[in-house]
């Protein structure tokens, strides 16, 4: 099944793998600096240098270097951060759960919200409730996500003081169990809201549009004629059909939301991969940057793959061979 699709993903993965290998080696200056980061130079001794040259096979031909790089990845070795003084994988994996929590919940929340808003808005097309929702979303669409983040931070964090200003949990609080989860949730509220708000407009507009088009489809009339309840016509018949394009764009949105998360994590000092990337960028900690990029791209590819597989589940017209059946 889906051999064509899987091979597409495999090719994308290989390209990322090669870019991640080639880019530092193509940077001007000493490749070792690019691979190990500037922090490494401080402790650099000739012995260490030789050892590192040997470890990355930098004195060997490119092919050999690539092989060493690949075997490293297979072993889970993404390099060593001299800044954190820890293996890259360890550092990234420590940040990753927070990002996954923020991204995942925001992705689900924004998709659900924009679907419901789009369905209701499209159903009430031209009425006041539709118009005001549309206007509000358009205005919000004009603000960059970090701006929304800052406004939320100031309003709820600084002035009202309802919610924590930064971090993912209260440090050294010793909380556990349910209390820990509540604490995490409280920290999550603001970044999640900011990220979700910035994600809603585009999906909402698309949903509203497809809903309006779908409502003109003959099967909606059929459903109404069957005497079904309005909710059934709206969600089961029109909504289900209008969702399809949203699912496609959600896959694409994973990439965009990752960039969004980078800003949001910075503003709320949320200890995820975004903040990690930002800090590493300031420190020129190249190994972390490469490792983080690699893991994030793999994550995006996997997410896309999941969405693609989901699509065949919700639209019977896309066969299990992944080819659309024209009829």
């Amino acid at each position: 099944m889906k051999t064509a699709k899987i091979s597409t993903y495999a090719i994308a993965f290989l390209i990322i793998l090669s870019l991640n290998f080639l880019l530092p080696r193509m940077m001007p200056g000493d490749p070792l600096t690019a691979i190990c980061g500037e922090e490494a130079l401080i402790e650099m001794t000739p012995e260490l240098r030789t050892e590192l040259m040997h470890r990355f096979a930098l004195d060997e031909p490119l092919g050999k270097q690539f092989f060493v790089y690949l075997t490293g990845i297979v072993r889970g070795d993404f390099g060593y951060s001299y800044y954190y003084n820890a293996p890259v994988l360890e550092v990234v994996l420590e940040a990753l759960p927070w990002t996954l929590l923020l991204l995942g919940s925001s992705l689900i929340l924004s998709t659900l919200l924009s679907i419901i808003m789009g369905i209701e808005s499209g159903w009430r097309r031209g009425r006041n409730s539709d118009k005001s929702l549309l206007t509000a979303t358009m205005i919000m669409n004009g603000f960059p996500n970090f701006f929304i983040g800052i406004v939320l931070l100031l309003l709820f964090g600084v002035y009202l003081g309802f919610l924590p200003l930064q971090g993912a949990k209260t440090p050294y609080s010793g909380l556990s169990g349910l209390n820990l989860m509540l604490d995490i949730a409280r920290h999550l509220v603001l970044p999640l809201t900011a990220l979700t708000l910035s994600q809603i407009p585009s999906s909402y507009l698309l949903m509203r549009n497809t809903m309006i088009t779908t409502l003109k489809e003959p099967f909606v009339l059929t459903a109404k004629a069957k005497g079904l309840s309005e909710a059934s016509v709206r969600y089961k018949h029109a909504g289900r059909n209008a969702i399809l394009p949203i699912v496609t764009t959600t896959g694409v949105r994973v990439g965009i939301i990752v960039t969004g998360a980078l800003f949001i994590e910075m503003i709320f000092s949320y200890p995820g991969v975004g903040l990690l990337i930002y800090n590493s960028l300031l420190m020129r900690d190249y190994p972390i940057l490469q490792g983080a990029f690699f893991i994030v791209t793999v994550f995006v590819i996997v997410a896309n793959f999941v969405v693609d597989s989901l699509y065949t589940k919700i639209d019977p017209r896309i066969g299990i061979d992944g080819v659309e059946h024209a009829h």
């Binding site: 099967f219 059929t222 069957k226 005497g227 289900r240 017209r317 009829h327």
Partner: protein
């Protein structure tokens, strides 16, 4: 059960339905026919309460006015009492649910049964509509057009409704599937005593599925009556137009369209711009649907008017009767072909009508007014014109094309010189001739045969007559020229609504050009009726022989004038009192020589044959 009174539907400022009145009793079947865009679907949807525009008037269903019912109440009626088989367009079924899911959905939604019961019932219904079992779980995109139509029908029956609205149930289906679907609908509806409202432009489906028929045009009903009567004898010009453009296996006349396009008017007859018999009042006042001879017609002129009526007309030369008390009726916009062998009195009939001969007896009415023998004035010739057999002889050699064609205008003193010339140019264009100065100044001998006949036709048409008598207009032409002239005449008929009395001995040609045929034998009309009927089911032996002798491309030589028992023939020769065909008739009996048959009505024909009784009795 259903009574619609003064139903009006507006979409914004556009009025789609204008005061529709319809009644449908339980168990009846009514078809609404007409071109697309006439408001058929809107009518169906307004009964379901699903029309998006504003609805005025009453839709009484078992006494309840559906037009005023709140949405919640309507929802209870939908599918439980009134269901609809939607037009099988792309996505009439939801693409995301299987056939069975969609059929069982209304059962669950209306709480008629729980999920399992609904599933069971859906399976029964799908079985009943002959859907193969493995298709029950198929999605719409996996089903063929016919299968989807079956699902749509099963779905409509899910909640056992009383009234079922079928919206174009057979369009987009191939012929075999269509036949299956129609027989399925018929069986199901008979078994369940369903009331049917069929909305379609497919006249054949309507004829098979409905007892009564209403013709809907631009939001108004123009004709209403029993389906068979409307289809065999349309009385409104629009109904006739619909039949003329509908290719069926029994039509013989070339397909003709209806001129112009559908437009919506608030005042006046909606059909008047396209109607060829419209008069001043048609534009100003909307005609009401009035009962007329067993059916309802909305036409200021009472339907298609009889343009020419000939009653009891005879003509004798010395002692021999060339025309023997014939009756003819020619309706507006139709072609009546007068066929028969040479010497049967066809040309004499034509010449009497145009006034070249005087009738010995009988009356002629034109547009209801009696024409007296010497009463043919200029006005008469503005209405009636003739085209003769041999154009070379009927056009004066001494007149140029321009002069020949202009002559009627000169006689009638219509317009000044320039206007007349303009009209000549226009009419030449209509008959597909050039109107260059060179051509205008040509003389008949410089023209080809086809061109000469067109000039003759142009001359006949320049006064815009209502009736054109064409006496063998193409028999002097070769086949390809004949084809062009015939096409030209049919096009002119479509455009101007000219009635034609087309005289020919060529039945193969007559059936292609005429709506009705009258068969003449020795001055008598022996058979008359719709051309397709006469050609497919001739009742008079003479007509049968004419048909046998009509041109075919087969190598078999037709056998006509078959064996007549010589004894009988000899014995009765010369008495002249019996049937004129007796001596040549295979079915002739002794009585045929003694008794003259009279024209009698037999199904849709009129026929004069003594043996007919036997024949029809045997058939019955």
């Amino acid at each position: 059960m259903l009574e619609i009174k003064g139903l009006e539907v507006n979409y914004g400022k556009r009025r789609i339905l204008h005061g529709i009145d319809l009644t449908l009793k339980r168990g009846e079947s009514l078809s609404i026919v007409g071109e697309s865009g006439g408001g058929k679907t809107t009518l169906g949807l307004s009964i379901m309460g699903l029309v998006e525009g504003t609805v005025r008037g009453e839709i009484l269903f078992d006494g309840k006015n559906l037009a005023l019912l709140p949405e919640k109440e309507l929802r209870k009626i939908r599918w439980n009492r009134i269901a609809m088989v939607f037009q099988n367009v792309e996505n009439a079924l939801n693409p995301l649910y299987t056939a069975r899911e969609q059929v069982s959905e209304p059962i669950v939604a209306h709480k008629i049964g729980n999920r399992d019961e609904a599933k069971k019932r859906a399976e029964e219904l799908l079985n009943m509509v002959n859907l193969r079992e493995e298709r029950f779980y198929a999605y719409p995109h996996q089903l063929s057009g016919g299968e989807k139509q079956r699902v749509l029908i099963a779905m409509a029956l899910a909640n056992d409704p009383d009234l079922i609205i079928l919206d174009e149930p057979t369009t987009a289906l191939d012929a075999l599937t269509k036949a299956e679907i129609i027989s399925l609908i018929r069986n199901v509806c008979n078994k369940r005593e369903l009331t049917i409202l069929l909305l379609t432009h497919d006249l054949s489906a309507a004829s098979m599925l409905s007892d009564t028929m209403a013709v809907l045009y631009a939001g108004r009903i123009l004709e209403f009556g029993s389906t068979s009567a409307l289809l065999s004898n349309p009385r409104h010009p629009y109904t006739r137009g619909l039949l003329r453009c509908y290719p069926s296996m029994t039509t013989t006349k070339d397909l003709q369209g209806i001129r112009g396009r559908m437009e919506f008017f608030d005042n006046g007859c909606p059909f008047y711009p396209r109607c060829t018999q419209s008069v001043g009042i048609c534009r100003e006042e909307t005609p009401r649907l009035e009962e007329n001879d067993g059916r309802f017609i909305a036409c200021h002129r009472g339907g298609i008017i009889p343009l020419l009526v000939v009653r009891n007309m005879s003509k004798s030369f010395n002692s021999s009767k060339a025309v023997d008390s014939i009756d003819l009726t020619l309706y507006e916009g139709e072609t009546l072909a007068l066929v028969g062998e040479t010497g049967s009195g066809k040309t004499t009939t034509a010449k009497i009508i145009i006034g070249l001969f005087e009738a010995t007896e009988g009356q002629i009415f034109l547009e209801g007014k009696r024409i007296l023998d010497h009463g043919r004035d200029k006005n008469f010739y503005r209405t009636v014109q003739m085209v003769f057999q041999n154009p070379m002889e009927s056009l004066s050699h001494r007149l140029s094309v321009l002069e020949s064609v202009r002559e009627p205008l000169d006689i009638q003193k219509l317009g000044d010189r320039a206007q007349r010339e303009n009209r000549v140019r226009r009419i030449l264009g209509e008959v597909e001739l050039p109107s260059t100065p060179t051509f205008l100044n040509k003389y008949p001998h410089q023209l080809s045969q086809g061109e000469t006949q067109r000039v003759a036709i142009a001359r006949a048409l320049i006064l815009n007559p209502k009736l054109l008598i064409a006496d063998e207009p193409t028999s002097a032409l070769d086949a390809s020229t004949q084809a062009k002239v015939v096409k030209l005449l049919l096009n002119l008929q479509e455009k101007r609504g000219i009635s034609m009395l087309f005289i020919t001995h060529n039945l193969a040609l007559a059936r292609k050009i005429s709506d009705r045929l009258a068969v003449m034998l020795r001055g008598n009309i022996v058979e008359e009726g719709p051309s397709n009927e006469i050609v497919s089911n001739p009742l008079h032996p003479y007509t049968e022989d004419l048909l046998k002798a009509a041109p075919t491309l087969s190598s078999n030589v037709p056998v006509v004038h078959a064996s007549v028992p010589e004894v009988i023939s000899k014995k009765n020769e010369g008495t002249g009192t019996g049937c004129h065909y007796a001596s040549r008739c295979i079915k002739g009996t002794e009585v045929c020589f003694n008794e003259k048959p009279r024209l009698r009505i037999c199904s849709s024909h009129k026929v004069a044959c003594l043996n007919l009784n036997l024949k029809t009795e045997n058939e019955e």
